[in-house]
Symmetry: C2
Subunit: 274 residues, 2 copies
């Protein structure tokens, strides 16, 4: 039985959304629906137009016999700004203040809806940077790395501060913790988890002194890989000179006053690069 255009459009949409950054051939769709390549081409034109108009993303079409389509998650600038504002509104609550000026964020990083938004925003930003892997440090960064990696469709790797026997052999480095105490700490990564020459994106929840990000940078060098960029959810207040400068932060915690229980979160430097 021949598959109708309406059904093809629904299935193509689902298929492309589940395979971001992947070239899917006309031949594949043509066989899947027992339809002529010319019909599939027309389908893809409709999908492309709708994805673009609705801010779902870009459909790149590759012409010719070996051609096909690739879905690239890309958000509209105003949608990204909208989400960053939503994040500010969500964090600007005094109940989120923790002792020491920390901000409670764990609930957000456990909500699929927030993670989808954060993942799409950051993946959008790096869409044409040919990222091979997303890196983060356990535990808080993991959901962010997974969300971003899902939209970039690349693996994510988790750096740990403690070793586990189930990791196999690891490479470890020492780094200076960015906090005022200037402690030397250790972080390590499973040897199998990152290929030489990989182009790596670092993500994390908070940035204070930058020590952790710097540690990951050294680790990337140990693996003969390349750091492409670093993006955090929020840059925290930090008295002193940060040990890194080339990062972007979706948000900036502008002021925290534990005594009067006030907090002010504003959009970070990320939006300046949109």
């Amino acid at each position: 039985m021949k598959i109708k255009r309406s059904e093809r459009l629904i299935d193509i949409t689902h298929y492309l959304l589940e395979h971001p950054h992947t070239l899917v051939s006309l031949t594949f769709f043509s066989k899947r629906y027992e339809s002529a390549k010319s019909s599939i081409s027309e389908d893809l034109t409709i999908v492309k137009k709708t994805f673009s108009e609705r801010g779902i993303g870009i459909i790149e079409t590759v012409p010719g016999a070996a051609g096909g389509a690739r879905y690239i998650p890309k958000m509209k600038k105003e949608d990204i700004e909208g989400i960053i504002q939503e994040l500010c509104d969500e964090l600007n609550h005094s109940e989120r203040l923790l002792p020491g000026g920390y901000v409670y964020l764990s609930d957000m990083l456990g909500q699929p809806d927030w993670l989808r938004k954060i993942g799409r925003v950051i993946a959008s930003f790096y869409m044409d940077k040919e990222i091979d892997a997303v890196m983060t440090v356990a535990t808080k960064g993991v959901p962010i790395a997974q969300a971003v990696a899902t939209y970039l469709n690349v693996p994510f790797v988790i750096v740990r501060r403690d070793s586990k026997v189930t990791e196999g052999s690891t490479v470890s480095i020492n780094y200076v913790s960015g906090s005022s105490s200037q402690r030397v700490e250790k972080m390590e990564l499973s040897r199998r988890s990152l290929k030489r020459g990989s182009r790596v994106l670092i993500v994390d929840d908070f940035l204070k002194g930058g020590g952790t990000v710097n540690g990951m940078k050294s680790l990337i060098e140990e693996f003969d890989a390349e750091l492409v960029g670093a993006t955090v959810i929020a840059e925290n207040i930090y008295q002193g000179v940060r040990s890194i400068d080339n990062y972007t932060a979706l948000l900036k915690v502008d002021s925290v006053d534990v005594e009067s229980r006030t907090i002010q979160v504003v959009p970070g430097n990320f939006i300046a690069y949109l």
Copy 2:
């Protein structure tokens, strides 16, 4: 300008996929596309049919003025069995053997494509169990919890073995580690992260003695919440009596021989319940 049916079908598909287990009203779609509710109803019928035929999931339609549609990720039995077989094939490699009979799994748990499959399979299984939260223990379980929670569209919570200042106040319990050493260990969960009365699904990577799952069970009781089920990726070889019995495992590591470097992974008890 009026939106064509073809464009509506694409956008409805995207919207429903991004909002699983959520009732989206006819009114919402009707306004979004400036189209009559009767047209939207027809659209949803086409989406429903295609989702069902392609094994994408169920579209539940709620009739009436306050009606709408809800997308529930549900896979076909044969697709689930196919994925479990793929998982077996992927793990049945001697290079995955680690000292002590452990199996290297970290790469898989860092690949969005595997996580999507695992997430859909487990979320499918619990689709009508009214889960309120997914629980796991740091660090290995986190990607699994996030993948499952994404398809169930509920929050996930991370139990930790070490405390962090950024968690706020926590509830902790002591539990007997299932390993042969029978050590007493501690695990804790941020007080804010789980609501009283929540129906909780536990997920994790490996099950050996069951001590960790049992610890989480005690923690769930501390929060006056309810354990609905526990599912792990693989149940490991265990000499002795397990401290839990009501769990499902996608896979079973049937034999591991470190000397001859052989490993045998077979489908677990999960498939018996499909």
